[in-house]
């Protein structure tokens, strides 16, 4: 049943797609059917998978950088009160700027290569990770802090042994959000200016009216994003076993 359900959903979606093609009577250069896309995927597999690898690398690097920077920022603003008072408003205000609007500038500064896409993914990930982790660090169970106080714990050790572990569940939900949005950053970056990646392929083939290849690239992107999400989710669950069981109970 656990495997059957996604399979049924997948086949159902394909069927719906095919139905839409039949009913609408759209030409293949507007809406290609599943068979055409599968063919395009098979024909251009080597090329597509190479570009998918580039996009995946951008996403992973962005996740790594954005995650690390976000965690570091959260620790700094949780630890230093002045940092919280001065940086928090700046951080929140920075979210008013759509990251996509920055894409052309990033490409201008960092070039057509991977760096500008990694920067995009990093920027888009940074805030959710920072906000989630900081929130977790701020909301330590007061009883634990009371206990730590009567035990005579130093602020640094309380942070290390109580506040950080207690904030990890919040951090993981931030990282899950980050994993879900990271591909957006990378692909938007590729659209604005690139020489490789699934976004690049989609743009090129779109111009050539090879919509079946565009769909094939899209399909690959979706598969990679879903796989990445589940891999991260699995890893986080394994890293915090006590939390995983809490989640299971709530379900």
């Amino acid at each position: 049943m656990k495997l059957l359900r996604p399979l049924v959903i997948f086949l159902g979606l394909i069927l719906l797609w095919q139905l839409l093609v039949w009913v609408s009577g759209a030409p293949p250069y507007i809406l290609p059917g599943p068979a055409r896309v599968a063919l395009a995927l098979a024909e251009r597999w080597r090329e597509l998978i190479g570009h998918a690898g580039v996009t995946l690398a951008e996403i992973l690097l962005g996740l790594l950088l954005g995650g690390l920077l976000g965690m570091l920022s959260a620790l700094v603003i949780a630890w230093f009160r002045p940092a919280r008072l001065w940086l928090m408003p700046v951080l929140v205000a920075s979210q008013a700027i759509p990251v996509f609007a920055l894409a052309p500038i990033l490409v201008l500064w960092l070039g057509y290569g991977m760096a500008s896409k990694v920067a995009m993914a990093t920027l888009i990930i940074y805030f959710p990770v920072t906000a989630a982790f900081f929130d977790g660090l701020r909301r330590t169970e007061p009883g634990w802090l009371d206990l730590a106080r009567t035990m005579g714990g130093s602020p640094y050790r309380v942070l290390r042994h109580i506040r950080i572990p207690a904030a990890l569940p919040a951090l993981t939900s931030g990282l899950r959000v980050a994993t879900a949005v990271a591909p957006i950053g990378a692909v938007v970056g590729e659209w604005v200016g690139s020489s490789a990646g699934l976004g690049y392929i989609m743009l090129q083939e779109n111009a050539r009216m090879r919509i079946d290849v565009v769909f094939a690239a899209l399909l690959l992107l979706a598969v990679f994003a879903v796989m990445l999400y589940y891999a991260v989710d699995w890893a986080l669950r394994r890293a915090l076993p006590w939390q995983a069981e809490d989640d299971a109970e709530r379900r």
Binding site: W144, A148, T150, M151, G152, G153, S154, R157, V158
Partner: protein, 297 residues
């Protein structure tokens, strides 16, 4: 204190055979205070004096100019209706009450900070750490080396509370009673001469509570203990001295000193008579505070 433990034996009630593993170690209870791991910290248990305690909460005085004396090496039970300020008074001694004022010190006037161990109603076990890790939390937070000696002491304490087999388990594997026993071991690990307990057993079922009361009485003998509870029977079983806190602003009155050495047998007629008396007293206090809260100016 060893004498206390020895005299305690005849007082211990007969127990049913089926009451679980906790019962077996209660049998060793008489020897517990002899163990180097259990014996209270290097300095002897001091008496604690609280003077002119005052706490206002949302513009209302919970207590004002309140004095409380905890005799050295004895268990004082603080009984009273919920919301009367028992916990706040305990937290004031622990140095945790924000907004509360008052002087807390031992009879020589020295501060009690750093000589207190605290145990709350919630076991406050860290869910990511093992039971052993939780017991060794204090040393870790103070940056003391986690050497073999510390581990051995923690393991011995876990054995005393019947959790040696669960040392490597995470707290979510434990029952409520086991969790509270782990919390008790963590409290003892601190080796503090003063122990403050805020309704530590009130979330447990009757049998588990009974077992834990026996265990705690044995393990905490010789320390200056303040036990906040709303259960008259618990106070009568464990307290050398029982105080009732009631009214608003709250007063402390009727220092009851039941005969015998804790943990007392709950079927003792004296204890039952005291329980009835305490219940009546609490009911009166409750009615009194309701009246005052209602119509009176």
């Amino acid at each position: 204190m060893p004498t206390a433990a020895i005299v305690r034996r005849p007082n211990r009630p007969r127990r049913p055979e089926s009451a679980g593993p906790a019962q077996e170690l209660l049998g060793e209870g008489a020897l517990l205070t002899q163990s180097p791991a259990i014996r209270s910290a290097a300095d002897p248990a001091p008496a604690v004096d609280v003077k002119a305690a005052r706490l206002a909460y949302r513009g209302e005085l919970l207590f004002d100019d309140l004095d409380l004396a905890l005799p050295a090496g004895r268990t004082t039970c603080l009984l009273g209706p919920s919301g009367v300020g028992k916990s706040s008074l305990l937290r004031l001694i622990a140095g945790l009450a924000e907004g509360a004022r008052g002087h807390v010190g031992d009879t020589a006037g020295a501060a009690v900070q750093g000589r207190i161990a605290y145990m709350a109603q919630d076991d406050l076990l860290l869910p990511w750490a093992t039971v052993l890790g939780n017991v060794m939390l204090g040393p870790r937070l103070r940056g003391e080396p986690a050497d073999a000696q510390t581990r051995a002491r923690a393991m011995e304490l876990l054995a005393r509370v019947g959790l040696a087999a669960s040392a490597a388990a995470r707290p979510d594997r434990l029952s409520g009673g086991m969790r509270q026993r782990a919390a008790l071991a963590r409290t003892l690990m601190e080796q503090r001469p003063i122990v403050l307990m805020d309704e530590p057993f009130s979330s447990l079922d009757a049998i588990t509570r009974y077992e834990l009361q026996n265990m705690a009485a044995g393990l905490l003998a010789g320390r200056t203990v303040l036990l906040v509870t709303h259960d008259p029977l618990e106070a009568l079983r464990l307290g050398h001295r029982i105080l009732v806190m009631a009214g608003r602003p709250a007063r402390l009155d009727q220092a009851l000193e039941p005969a015998g050495i804790p943990p007392r047998d709950p079927s003792d007629p004296d204890l039952l008579a005291h329980q009835a008396e305490l219940l009546k007293h609490l009911a009166r206090a409750h009615a009194g505070s309701a009246e005052r809260g209602g119509a009176a100016p």
